[in-house]
């Protein structure tokens, strides 16, 4: 999916509440792009050492930076501002509501660099801003398939049209599980190792049932029946019985699918009239939960079998 660059404007509008950000000047510069998912304290650069200065990051000023600048005579301070704003910084945030002085604001505005403040203490701001930026930069995509949360196990359900996805999801909802998304699931890579699925905001809580039409699951079944987002723990593909070539009869080998580069357990469930798909999907999810906890029923059974066979006296 083509990624839109992350602008200071987007960082500001999406996180101003959480980070208590206010824009003081350089508004034209809100279109500037943040190129790295982290922030930088420009202490060394302010002191004149600009080698390896992390110019593409949002800059953060706290007590150390502000008090240092105050120790400088005004002319020298102005020169340092000129120097630091000569770089293509996305923007600068002053923490602890520390006010930037007039020379700073003037130098920034002349270069169209946005200046913001936050009431948060510097350490808190740095931690929260880094998390916010990681979330903005996280790889995203979309997967064809519906998603449900079965007892804490996020299941992405795939299958051809008309195979019974919607009906099995309704049955799962009646069992007390939750719908995350219908037909298309938006996925985001979190922390580089988990894939979280969610629905499109437009169609959240809605589902199409052939013969009935579009229904609002939350209105029909209540708050417990829907879930905003969930990590994907299992991918289930529903396939017509005749199309499934080799079924793993033991379930000892684990099969995987890759979403956003992460390996996620995958199970194919053959569909045939009379098979309770919802029950099977539920069992697949609970099976994943148990396997995660260390159980491997097929292996355990096989080990018992091996020890029974080796204990039996020969000839019997």
């Amino acid at each position: 999916m083509p990624r839109e660059p992350i602008t200071v404007e987007r960082f500001y509008t999406e996180h101003s509440g959480q980070l208590d950000l206010r824009l003081l000047g350089g508004a034209i510069g809100l279109k500037r792009v943040i190129r790295e998912p982290t922030v930088n304290r420009p202490g060394l650069a302010l002191a004149g050492h600009t080698k390896y200065f992390a110019r593409h990051r949002m800059q953060v000023m706290g007590h150390a930076e502000v008090t240092y600048l105050k120790t400088l005579p005004r002319d020298e301070r102005r020169r340092r501002y000129e120097l630091i704003f000569s770089y293509p910084l996305p923007g600068v945030v002053f923490c602890r509501n520390l006010p930037p002085d007039r020379d700073c604001l003037k130098a920034a505005e002349s270069r169209n660099i946005p200046i913001l403040t936050s009431s948060l203490i510097t350490m808190k701001f740095i931690n929260l801003a880094t998390l916010a930026l990681e979330q903005l930069f996280a790889p995203r995509g979309s997967e064809i398939g519906s998603m449900v949360d079965i007892h804490g196990v996020g299941v992405l359900i795939r299958g051809d049209s008309g195979i019974g996805k919607s009906e099995s999801i309704l049955a799962l909802i009646e069992r007390g599980y939750s719908l995350v998304s219908d037909d298309m699931t938006r996925v985001t890579l979190v922390d580089g190792r988990e894939v979280v699925g969610t629905s499109s905001e437009l169609t959240r809580n809605h589902m199409e049932i052939r013969g009935i039409g579009i229904v609002n699951v939350a209105a029909m079944f209540g708050a417990k029946s829907v879930r905003g987002e969930k990590r994907i723990d299992l991918v289930v593909t529903l396939k017509a019985w005749e199309e499934v070539k080799d079924i793993d009869r033991l379930g000892m080998e684990e099969e995987f699918q890759h979403i956003l580069g992460v390996q996620i357990p995958h199970v194919t469930i053959p569909v045939r009239p009379g098979r309770d798909l919802a029950r099977l999907i539920e069992v697949a999810a609970l099976h994943v939960k148990l396997r995660r906890a260390g159980h491997n029923p097929a292996k355990e059974l096989n080990e018992r079998l091996l020890s029974q066979m080796s204990a039996a006296p020969r000839g019997l």
């Binding site: 064809i144 219908d182 298309m184 809605h206 005749e242």
Partner: protein, 99 residues
């Protein structure tokens, strides 16, 4: 076993389509599209801005939020893909019978 649908060697037919009707693909045009798509056995997908949806799903069509002027990419693969593509192209050209 003899009725198994062999999908391994079906070529994918793609078409670039533009939404030409005034309001875009809202409920009615979406239903018309899905009706045509569902009549065919081939797989049908529509893609907009990198997001791909199942063309036989009305939810998917609505999720695209394809306003007037949107560029969509149609993908069809299977036995009757060529016919499905032709009918869908015609539907777009007729502007979903809205004008």
């Amino acid at each position: 076993m003899s009725a198994a649908k062999d999908k391994t060697c079906d070529a994918v037919i793609t078409r670039d389509l533009v939404v030409a009707n005034k309001v875009g693909i809202h409920a009615r045009p979406a239903a018309m599209f899905v009706k045509i798509a569902s009549r065919h056995t081939c797989d049908i997908y529509l893609e907009k801005d990198g997001e791909k949806i199942n063309g036989k799903s009305i939810m998917g069509l609505l999720m695209l939020a394809a306003g007037p002027g949107s560029h969509l990419r149609l993908e069809a693969s299977g036995k009757d893909a060529a016919q499905a593509v032709a009918e869908i192209e015609d539907l777009f050209q007729r502007k979903f019978d809205e004008e």
